[in-house]
Amino acid sequence: MNKLLIKELRLGIHPVSYLLPVLFGALMLIPAWLYFLVPLYFCFITVPNMFGGYKSQNDLMFTKMLPVSRNEMVKARIAVVIILELLHLGFAAIFGLISTKLYPNLIYYFFAPSFSFFGLCFVMMGIFNLIFFTMYYKTAYKYGAATFTSVAAAVLFAVAAEWLSIANEEVFNLFKGSGADSIATQITILAAGIAIFATFTVIAYNIANKKFEKVEI
C-alpha cells in the first residue's frame, strides 16, 4: 500500500497539483467571497486532470501488472485523493484565518471562513467522494460522467447550504448568528462534518472496491 501510495504521489500527480492547494487557498483572501468555490476548484480542476492523466498513461494496466491486489489499488487511489483534499482544506483554513484577521469588520453575505464553514466543506467533499468513486470504479478509467455528477452534487450542496443560511432562521442562527459566536458550536459542526466526510469516503471505498473487482482491464 505504501509503495503504491508513493507511486501515486510521484507518477500520478503532476507537481503543479501540489502547488494548487496554496494557490486556491489564497483565494480565501478575497473579501466576503463565495468560499465554497475554493475546495470546489479541486473537484473542477485537479480531479479531471489527475484522472485524465491516469487514463492517457495507461495507469490501470500498468498498476494491475505490478504485484499488488485490486483492493490495494483502490485504497491507494482514494488515499491520494484524500491527501489532496486535506491539503486544499488545510491551506484554505490557513488563508481563511488570515482573511478574518485582515478584514475584521466585513459583512459576509455568504459563509465567513469559520470552523463550522469548514465542517460544511468536509460534508461537501464527502458527497463528492461518495459519488465520484462509486461511479469511477465502474470502469476505473472513465472519469467524465463521474466528475460531472459528483461536482454537480457538491455544487448543489453548496448552493443549498448558502441558501438555507440566508432563508432559514435556524440555520442562519447556527452558522451566522449566535452559533457563530460559540466556539463549541463551531467545533461541534466541524467534527460532525469530518465524521460525515469519513463515513461517506469509507462507504465510497467499499462500493468502489466491490465494483473494481468486476472490472475487466
Binding site: 508513493i6 510521484r10 495507461n58 505490478l66
Partner: protein
C-alpha cells in the same frame, strides 16, 4: 517442469468466445502464440494474467494456480504489451525507481547490466525511446526482478526487421540456460520461424494446434493439383484456392493418400496460418 499451463479456458463476450483454450509451455522454451487479428491472442493473454475474469478454466504458472497465488506469481512474471506504453513523459530512471520497490528480488546490478547491453540511457524519457527500445526496457525491468516467465503480447509489432531480428535473438539467448520461458503472441509468422520452439495457433477463439514447431509444421501438407483432382480431395482439404493451373490447398498429413499421386510439400507457417484461417471463412 511446466512454466505455464492453460486448461480449458472459456470466456464469452458478445460476438466472441474463447472456447476450451488449453496449451502448455515447458520451462526453458519459447512459445509463439499465433493467430490473425481478432483471433483471441490478447484475450487469452489477458485471461492468463487475470486482467479479465474467465468464465471457467485453470491457469498454472510455475506449477501454481495463478488466480490463487497472483501476487506471489507476479513477482516471477515479466510482461510487455506491444503498442501500450506507460507514463511516457517520465524518465526511465523515475519509472524504474518506483517499479523496483514492488519486487522482492530486484537486482540493481542486473538492471544496469541490461541497460548497458540494450544501450538504454536512464535519463531518457519513455517517449524518446523507439518502439524496439521500449520493449527492451520492459525486458530489462522483467529480468532485473528475476522473472522466470516472460509474457509478451505482440512485442514485435511496429518494429523494423533489424530491431525485430535483434529482439528475437535476445529471446533465444534468454532461454538458453533453461530457467526462463517466453510466451509471445504475434501475427508475423517469420518471427516464429526464427526463434519459436513451440507454436500454438489460435483461430476464432479456438486452439487449432499446439505443438513443437517441427511437429506443428509436419501436421500439414500443401498440395497442388489439377482442377480435375479437386472433387476427390475437396472433402479432405482444410481449405484451398483455385488458380489457373488447378488448385493449391492444405491437408492434414494423415489425410493425404499417396496413391492419389498428387504433388505435396511442407507448408511454412504463413501457409498454415492462411489456410487454417480460410477454413473458418468457408464455414461461416
Amino acid at each position: 517442469m511446466l512454466s505455464l499451463e492453460v486448461k480449458n479456458l472459456n470466456k464469452r463476450y458478445d460476438g466472441f468466445q474463447l472456447k476450451d483454450v488449453s496449451f502448455q509451455l515447458e520451462k526453458g522454451y519459447i512459445m509463439g502464440f499465433i493467430g490473425t487479428n481478432g483471433a483471441g491472442k490478447t484475450t487469452t493473454i489477458k485471461s492468463i494474467l487475470n486482467l479479465i475474469h474467465i468464465d471457467s478454466g485453470e491457469i498454472y504458472v510455475l506449477g501454481k494456480n495463478f488466480i490463487e497465488h497472483e501476487l506471489e506469481l507476479k513477482q516471477e512474471i515479466g510482461y510487455a504489451f506491444g503498442g501500450i506504453d506507460y507514463y511516457t513523459r517520465s524518465k526511465i530512471k523515475t519509472l524504474t525507481n518506483i517499479v523496483k520497490k514492488f519486487y522482492h528480488h530486484w537486482d540493481d546490478e542486473v538492471y544496469y547490466s541490461y541497460l548497458k547491453r540494450f544501450k538504454l540511457d536512464e535519463n531518457k524519457k519513455i517517449n524518446e525511446l523507439s518502439t524496439g527500445m521500449r520493449v527492451k526496457y520492459s525486458l530489462a525491468l522483467a529480468l532485473s526482478h528475476g522473472a522466470k516467465l516472460l509474457i509478451f503480447d505482440e512485442p514485435t509489432s511496429g518494429l523494423d526487421p533489424v530491431a525485430r531480428d535483434n529482439l528475437l535473438e535476445i529471446f533465444q539467448e534468454l532461454v538458453q540456460e533453461g530457467e526462463i520461458s517466453i510466451l509471445f503472441s504475434t501475427h508475423i509468422t517469420s518471427d516464429l520461424e526464427k526463434c519459436a520452439d513451440f507454436i500454438t495457433f489460435i483461430n476464432n477463439g479456438v486452439i487449432v494446434n499446439s505443438a513443437d514447431k517441427e511437429t506443428f509444421i509436419d501436421t500439414y501438407r500443401l498440395v497442388n493439383g489439377k482442377e480435375s483432382q479437386l472433387p476427390m480431395l475437396k472433402e479432405k482439404l482444410i481449405s484451398y484456392k483455385r488458380n489457373s493451373f488447378g488448385f493449391t490447398g492444405m491437408i492434414h498429413k494423415k489425410d493425404l493418400d499417396p496413391s492419389l499421386n498428387i504433388q505435396s510439400a511442407l507448408p511454412n507457417l504463413e501457409d498454415i496460418m492462411i489456410y487454417l484461417s480460410k477454413k473458418e471463412d468457408l464455414h461461416e
